[in-house]
């Protein structure tokens, strides 16, 4: 039923025990609205950097914790942007901020999208695979004998 209404939605591999769906970014919000009653508990929201793409992962549980659903959204590594789900699962607020902080994914219509664990003005996104330490290499001082 869902597959007919959301073109591009497909089943994919995910964590063991989870029914996993790959969602086109433009349908995420609509699908979330559809699923919020069946899966009210957003346990974990995170991202993975696969170099050629960024993958957002939403791990959802039903009220009695028995049913599990995983949503995955693929985003391009340059200027990744997706709709915020804070309106559906308020707990996404800080978790989206953390993903923004660590991966640089911007969430549209997020109430307060700014860095959370790192400070404002920090350059780079540490959990991206291409992230290198911007500081100059440490020189080793050897005490003369």
């Amino acid at each position: 039923m869902l597959f007919g209404r959301f073109p591009g939605l497909e089943e994919t591999g995910g964590p063991a025990g989870f029914w996993t769906l790959r969602v086109p970014p433009e349908h995420l919000l609509e699908l979330g609205e559809e699923l919020r009653l069946a899966f009210p508990h957003l346990s974990c929201l995170t991202a993975v950097d696969f170099r050629d793409r960024l993958e957002l992962v939403y791990l959802l549980y039903s009220q009695d914790q028995k049913e599990r659903l995983c949503l995955k959204v693929d985003l391009p590594p340059e200027n990744p942007e997706v709709e915020s789900v804070t309106g559906i699962w308020p707990t996404a607020d800080w978790q989206e901020r953390e993903v923004y902080d660590m991966f640089g994914i911007r969430f549209r219509r997020h109430p307060n999208l700014k860095r959370i664990l790192l400070w404002e003005g920090y350059e780079g996104y540490p959990l991206r695979k291409g992230f290198g330490d911007p500081r100059p290499p440490r020189t080793r001082k050897v005490r003369p004998r």
Binding site: P15, A16, F18, P40, T46, T91, L127
Partner: protein, 373 residues
């Protein structure tokens, strides 16, 4: 930082609390907007203890990560280790010997008791009472002595292994643990209850303060005692059992109103349930090895994703591991309950007085090693 601003016809005062305030249990900063002494808004600022555990894990082989997980919620090291080793064992399909499984349950519950003892002590301390704090440390000392005899460390144990436990308990240790539990249940616990629940200051400061309605708790992903304080009996040990918890009988204490008082009392009663679980574990502890058979050579997870949740004393702790088949995780994510719970602070504090911020923060009991990771 202190700024005054006029908004409509109200005088608002913006005040900075922390990050080094002694009542914040670590390094927590809150920017509080006040009207008089009443809180209009509160903005939590976290990240002062950030070490980027998740990035460090990407460079470590799987067994090397175990001691790092100790340092997440440094008060519940065993529970953190348990979540991680269960995730890896689930991925590898390793059978853990029954004795190790029961001992893991025993140690998680013992850790939970020690954790709530500190919660009890610091909550009272934040309300200005020193006696409960000293009593809690009197009992904690003995508990940590017991842990030290098994693991060699008092706080960060590095005790669980992928496939089992590092070592078995020493001779006579189980008897001493039983004696400690008897003492704690008969003497210390009733004393705790008397000191809190018959203390008028405590009742006045916590009742109807920081009320968390159950729908708000669910929407914000609350778990553990924070959710149970709001009257929802959810406990992953029952709802999503792991490590053989389905074989143990225990109750889930729940609160009624969801205020700071309920969150505190729920934790106190959970100590009794933990004792119950430990007694059952002691009575059915089988003989045998405590370490299972691991695959030979470098430990590598099959490519794929793994998600494992456990009920840590602070709530729902989970590890999300992505493997590309290498000896280190491609990506490791820690779902930390304290981080999620701190989002609730503005909702709980609005409309209360400035002094109540301390109580509400204590009743959530975030541990900043876990919030900031």
């Amino acid at each position: 930082m202190e700024t005054r601003e006029l908004e409509e016809d109200r005088v608002l005062l913006r005040l900075n609390l922390g990050p080094q305030h002694p009542s914040t249990h670590g390094v927590f900063r809150a920017i509080v907007t006040l009207e008089g002494e009443t809180i209009v808004d509160l903005e939590p600022v976290v990240g002062y203890l950030h070490r980027n555990h998740e990035k460090i894990y990407e460079h470590l082989q799987y067994p090397m990560i175990v001691p790092f997980t100790d340092r997440l919620d440094y008060l519940s090291a065993i529970n953190n280790e348990l979540g991680y080793v269960l995730a890896v064992e689930g991925a590898l399909g390793i059978e853990v010997p029954e004795r190790a499984r029961v001992l893991r349950v025993l140690f998680s519950e013992f850790q939970r008791i020690l954790y709530y003892q500190l919660f009890f002590g610091t909550l009272a301390m934040d309300l200005g009472a020193t006696t409960p704090f000293l009593l809690a440390f009197r009992d904690r000392e003995r508990g940590y002595d017991l842990m030290e005899r098994v693991t060699g460390a008092r706080l960060l144990y590095n005790y669980l292994r992928i496939g089992g436990l590092r070592n078995d308990v020493p001779d006579g240790w189980l008897r001493d643990l039983e004696a400690y539990l008897d003492y704690f249940e008969r003497e210390a616990w009733p004393q705790y209850m008397d000191l809190l629940l018959r203390n008028e200051i405590f009742l006045l400061r916590t009742k109807e303060v920081g009320v968390l309605p159950s729908d708000l708790a669910l929407a914000y992903g609350a778990s553990g005692p924070v959710l149970r304080g709001s009257g929802i009996p959810r406990d992953l040990r029952k709802d999503d059992p792991y490590s053989g918890y389905e074989n143990f009988q225990f109750e889930i204490p729940v609160g009624e109103r969801g205020d700071s008082y309920d969150r505190c009392v729920v934790r106190l009663y959970e100590m009794l349930e933990s004792i119950r679980i430990i007694r059952q574990a002691l009575s059915r502890l089988p003989d045998g090895p405590v370490m299972g058979q691991l695959p030979r050579g470098l430990l590598k997870l099959p490519p794929g994703e793994y998600y494992q949740r456990v009920e840590a004393p602070s709530g729902e702790l989970a590890y999300y591991l992505v493997s590309d088949g290498g000896p280190a995780p491609y990506r490791a994510k820690i779902r930390s309950p304290s981080f999620v719970h701190l989002q609730l602070m503005p909702h709980l504090c609005r409309g209360h007085k400035l002094a109540d911020v301390i109580v509400i923060l204590s009743s959530i009991f975030p541990v900043f090693g876990e919030v900031d990771r």
